[in-house]
Symmetry: C2
Subunit: 388 residues, 2 copies
């Protein structure tokens, strides 16, 4: 199997940008990626562009991959849009890897973009809750906060997870986000504030939920042999795994486990020839605080049910032995749906190279990291292991 590497990575500022369309957001990430390629970026070498996206920016229903590709100056590439809800970007990355592994193209772009705020009325009404089950959940009135609230309630009941555990995820991620110049929320919060925030869907309050975000990201993927033509420090894709699950939570093997995460992680570890203990840093899908706790368990960072205590012991703090969401995560960095997966790859690329933009957030001496990207309430999951 042909080995694959990331040789460049860029991200737009995440936030709310009423004056920018998906084309302009993607261009910002693309140009940032181009600048990051040590030996220079040549668009003529790019054979394909895999673009993760859910909502097409509210104005383009079809062919948006060709639209953003031509806009950045890649008019004739193999452009393809991938939509797996909030995991679209992560799937774009593994599809790009498969393309290079297959030997079809040597240099390919994997990226994602989402325009969530200020889009046309048609989409805003429809934005959320549309990536879980429709017939049994959404049409019965459930929102995404409601779905994750169900999971959180059950996790508290079964394992004694507490209000404080949930809020500590927000406190940790906001602390990291405050050091990220590209994050949507660059400010810390206190445990007291996080615990007393207005309720959204019990037990999840405002600080347990990620925001709606505009943003884009792009990484440059190539074969390991060619990687040195671009940089002396490529970041290798050691392994990846993917799994879908029943969309409706009532159909799943358990309420407190994302089976997709478990299966995707198993495959990724196997392909990489490593285990959870070898993961030194991770970006996980904290769309809600409970989701980060589930991830600790389902990725094998701690035992089932022990995520709360594991968090409180400080392991996943930026100063801990396995920092999680050093970028601020979806909670503070933001969650522009289609961009989230490749945005995680952007963060990890720079963390593993030791060249994070604002060095106060740099985790020192890490050589292997994991990305975890979830679509919907767990309907699709992708896990990727990257190493220096």
């Amino acid at each position: 199997m042909r080995k694959v590497a990331i040789v460049g990575a860029g991200q737009s500022r995440y936030g709310e940008f009423p004056d920018k369309s998906i084309k302009e957001l993607f261009l910002e990430a693309y140009q940032d990626m181009a600048k990051s390629v040590d030996r220079g970026y040549d668009p003529k070498r790019v054979g394909a562009a895999y673009i993760g996206n859910l909502g097409c920016g509210g104005f383009q229903l079809g062919n948006m991959s060709a639209l953003v590709s031509e806009y950045v100056g890649l008019p004739y590439v193999h452009a393809m849009r991938i939509e797996n809800a909030c995991a679209s970007g992560g799937y774009a990355l593994v599809t790009a890897a498969m393309d290079v592994m297959a030997g079809v193209h040597d240099v390919v772009l994997a990226g994602g973009v989402e325009k969530m705020t200020d889009v046309s009325g048609l989409k805003t009404k429809y934005w959320l809750g549309v990536s879980g089950d429709t017939e049994y959940e959404r049409l019965a009135g459930t929102t995404f906060s409601g779905l994750y609230a169900l999971i959180a309630q059950r996790h508290m009941h079964e394992f004694g997870t507490t209000r404080e555990h949930l809020s500590m995820v927000a406190v940790k991620n906001h602390k990291n986000g405050a050091q990220n110049p590209k994050a949507q929320f660059q400010r810390e919060t206190t445990l007291e504030k996080a615990m007393k925030a207005p309720m959204v869907a019990a037990p999840l309050n405002l600080f347990d939920c990620c925001s709606t975000t505009d943003g884009a990201s792009a990484v440059l993927v190539t074969s390991a042999e060619k990687a040195k033509e671009f940089t002396d420090t490529p970041i290798y894709i050691e392994g990846f795994g993917t799994a879908s699950d029943y969309l409706a939570i009532h159909d799943r093997v358990a309420t407190t486990t994302l089976e997709g995460t478990r299966r995707a992680a198993d495959q990724a570890y196997k392909m990489a020839g490593v285990g959870p203990k070898d993961i030194q840093i991770a970006e996980v899908h904290d769309c809600f605080t409970i989701a980060e706790l589930l991830a600790y368990e389902d990725l094998g960072f701690c035992e089932k049910g022990q995520a709360g205590p594991y968090l409180m012991e400080g392991h996943t703090q930026i100063t801990g032995d396995r920092p999680v969401n050093a970028s601020g995560g979806l909670k503070a960095k933001g969650h522009p749906i289609g961009s989230t997966g490749t945005g995680q790859a952007y963060e990890m690329f720079h963390q593993l190279r030791g060249d994070v933009q604002k060095p106060t957030r740099q985790v020192k001496g890490v050589e292997r990291g994991l990305l975890h990207n979830v679509g919907g309430s767990g309907g699709t999951v992708v896990v990727t292991v990257l190493a220096r």
Copy 2:
């Protein structure tokens, strides 16, 4: 490079089915595919499902790949939705091929589904014209018929293509569709009727335009080594090519050429090690009659500008030396957007094996065929060469 084959192919009936959702349409195609596998189909062997789709059936915005996968009994596979407008299915097929070529999965599903009629109000208003350029074309009032009408006008002006040439495409394809029990329109038409149909966008009349269709299709893709475990007569994917283009027609190199088709065909011929002269049968993207004429030229079946005479000489009739759209094409078989590409593969699989459902449509002695699938007005194009 690992060689890849198709070992099973199924299609739902194409038409208007108010009582069926995308899940049920896809199940029909999936079950038909399962039945077609000579040595039996085992869902446990399937590692991935690549699903082409544009509109999510009007009720599911995200994660529809996981939804239809779980519904047919594949709850944990690598499910991924691919959206490249009307070329979504064709891109699903080449992505499935790349997956197997990369050695990630051994047996994968490529399919597509679209529910175009009787969907919720949200989508019906938005269905057409959303896969071309939005800012310069759609918002200025252009429809898809209007875009292809522009191309047709220019083709008539530059090359002397006539009203009769356009109508003969419809007459030929309806004649073939009349022999296809899964086609939307199983009836012939006359040249007189086709020429005198009500005008839609001059010079394109009602018989120059394909219809809106509900339908689904699915093919089973595996490595060439494993193919014989499924059947004695696999159909090999000899080559494929893909290209995007500027969405807006005014940005393109020419009005009367789909540059995407030209580039995609070049790549596909090169990978397969063949040329246009080696193609014995083809399914091309006749969303409008002019589109089939463009395809003859851009695929190299005849010289630029000579598509009209080439058609009139009978080459592409089912009795000709290179039958095109023996299935009835998008015109008579129907055009359920996301399904169209894998629906073409379904037809070609059976044509090349010599086991077409209704043998009156069987082209005899063909060993190599071509699929041509276009997204929008040419924004994305995929060409695939299949051989027995």
